[in-house]
């Protein structure tokens, strides 16, 4: 069999065509949504206060950007999001690995994880504030606490799911326990872990914004809450649009990182589905 026939996967042209088609389809529906918003807002069926037109909201975002306000608030929110997110990833992978490999860790943390998961952990914010004060530390702690759960579960599943042939093969070639963990288990579990990480980032963003809304101050959440108290509906909607854009960008960023890291995985070579 020739080398070309041995390789699998669609060729570049096919990928480009599908990529452009789905991009166009997605943007078209967003554009349609914005147009519908504009028309409905100006139609007089609701007041400009209840639903400011998209153009007015966009104008507000623009002026905030030019003034610089947008960037400081955005930067603050993202700072809290990312610090909490990275802590959650490190703690999550560490704890998940321990739980997957040692009986004691699993016994001790399993009830905590299984009870913690369906609990509205945000309710503990007042307790966290009590312990850690009213500044960033509390916000970041809350973000970490929420975002760590999906990472833990994903890591446990990923590591437990590593086929024993891979482990035996590595031992056959002389790998010791520590080498086994870093050289075999974690790379093999990476697809699952990455999925958990991809869930954790949007969660981190949500919690960061929520803590800002609850505790006030700067950051997109705090500014939105302020706007709502001052009946500044354009400010509120501006915040929503900003969050939507940021959320979308973060999801895309992680998807791109996933494609890069998991180049070797089967999914990279499967024909893309719509």
């Amino acid at each position: 069999m020739s080398a070309a026939a041995e390789r699998t996967g669609p060729d570049l042209v096919t990928r480009l065509v599908w990529g452009t088609a789905s991009f166009v389809a997605h943007t078209a529906s967003i554009v349609a949504l914005l147009v519908a918003w504009e028309i409905f807002a100006r139609s007089g069926k609701v007041t400009m206060f209840m639903l400011p037109p998209f153009s007015a909201v966009a104008e507000r975002i623009w002026s905030d950007a030019v003034e610089g306000k947008l960037w400081t608030d955005l930067g603050l929110t993202l700072y809290r999001t990312f610090v909490g997110f990275f802590l959650a990833c490190i703690i999550g992978v560490g704890l998940g690995t321990a739980m997957a490999r040692t009986k004691i860790a699993r016994w001790f943390f399993d009830p905590i994880v299984s009870i913690g998961f369906p609990m509205p952990k945000v309710v503990f914010l007042p307790v966290v504030i009590l312990w850690l004060g009213v500044f960033d530390v509390s916000k970041i702690t809350m973000v970490t606490v929420e975002a760590v759960f999906p990472v833990i579960t994903a890591t446990v599943l990923g590591i437990q799911g590593v086929g024993h042939e891979l482990i035996w093969s590595a031992r056959n070639m002389g790998a010791k326990d520590r080498e086994l963990l870093w050289q075999v288990l974690l790379p093999a579990a990476l697809p699952q872990i990455m999925t958990g990480v991809q869930v954790a980032l949007p969660v981190a963003l949500i919690v960061a914004i929520f803590t800002e809304m609850a505790m006030g101050g700067f950051g997109i959440g705090g500014v939105m809450m302020q706007a709502s108290r001052f009946a500044d509906s354009r400010g509120v909607f501006a915040g929503i649009v900003e969050i939507a854009i940021v959320g979308y960008c973060l999801v895309q960023l992680l998807a791109m990182i996933r494609r890069r890291l998991l180049r070797w995985h089967q999914e990279a070579h499967a024909p893309s589905t719509i």
Partner: protein, 264 residues
């Protein structure tokens, strides 16, 4: 003569308890000795414990009763002196072919460029030149198994333990791989223990065939299968066909017993 044998299996037994159900006796009083550089096939119906025996020699499973000696010393765990080739290749999917082969060489004392050269030579030997930088997901089944063999051969184990390595391949690839394996073995002679349930494969590849009984596994018979295997029509030669018949007769009863056991 057991005292000169490289691998000695003495009255070995193995049992385990599955999560639900009663204890299973996988092996019962198995004794076997393998000479250095001998090609031995372990043949038997599904579930007879042949893979279990192989993995015990490999050091992955503990011996419950009896003992296994390799080069006079009891088996204490897995190690690079006994290289394993698995049915489903066990290649690291996140490493390229070359990186996979190099992994086994990392713990040898060779210098960096020597390792690279050695890896490349084995990749060439199994016919994968040009695919060093491919990932396993980009390779066909036959190519993956060739990569796995290259990886195991590269760290030069004295003993090769192969667990139905061609079982996951289609028939045509399988016969090509069988011929290639014999070639490789002739060039770099090693002790090989080859697990299979395919009688023809066992007779073609091995010098001796150990027929195992259905569970609990025991060695039922040891048959000499030395022929002139360079003859391209060996599969049709009378000697070959007779041998296959003889062994199939022994295996058939065990296969039926294994089926019956399953039905209960």
């Amino acid at each position: 003569m057991t005292s000169n044998a490289q691998i000695v299996v003495e009255q070995v037994g193995h049992r385990y308890r599955p999560p639900t159900g009663r204890e299973v006796v996988a092996l019962d009083d198995v004794s076997l000795s393998v000479q250095s550089r001998e090609f031995l096939a372990l043949l038997g119906p599904s579930g007879c414990g042949k893979s279990t025996l192989l993995y015990m020699i490999g050091g992955f499973l503990p011996t419950v009763t009896g003992r296994i000696l390799v080069d006079g010393k009891p088996v204490a765990g897995p190690g690079p002196d006994r290289g394993v080739v698995f049915q489903h290749f066990a290649l690291f999917p996140w490493k390229t072919v070359k990186a996979n082969v190099l992994y086994g060489l990392e713990r040898t004392q060779l210098a960096r460029d020597e390792r690279e050269k050695r890896a490349q030579s084995f990749i060439d030997m199994v016919g994968l030149t040009g695919f060093e930088d491919s990932y396993p997901s980009q390779l066909s089944g036959g190519m993956k198994q060739r990569a796995a063999i290259a990886r195991t051969l590269a760290f030069d184990p004295d003993i090769l333990l192969m667990d139905e390595p061609f079982g996951a391949l289609d028939a045509q690839t399988r016969s090509l791989m069988q011929a290639e394996l014999l070639n490789i073995w002739r060039r770099t002679p090693k002790t090989v223990i080859f697990v299979t349930h395919d009688v023809q494969e066992a007779v073609f590849l091995a010098e001796r065939v150990a027929v195992m009984s259905a569970r609990p596994g025991r060695i039922k018979a040891l048959i000499d299968t030395r022929f002139d295997k360079t003859d391209p029509h060996v599969f049709k030669s009378k000697a070959f066909v007779d041998k296959v018949d003889e062994i199939w007769g022994l295996v058939r009863d065990e296969a039926i017993k294994a089926q019956a056991g399953r039905g209960q």
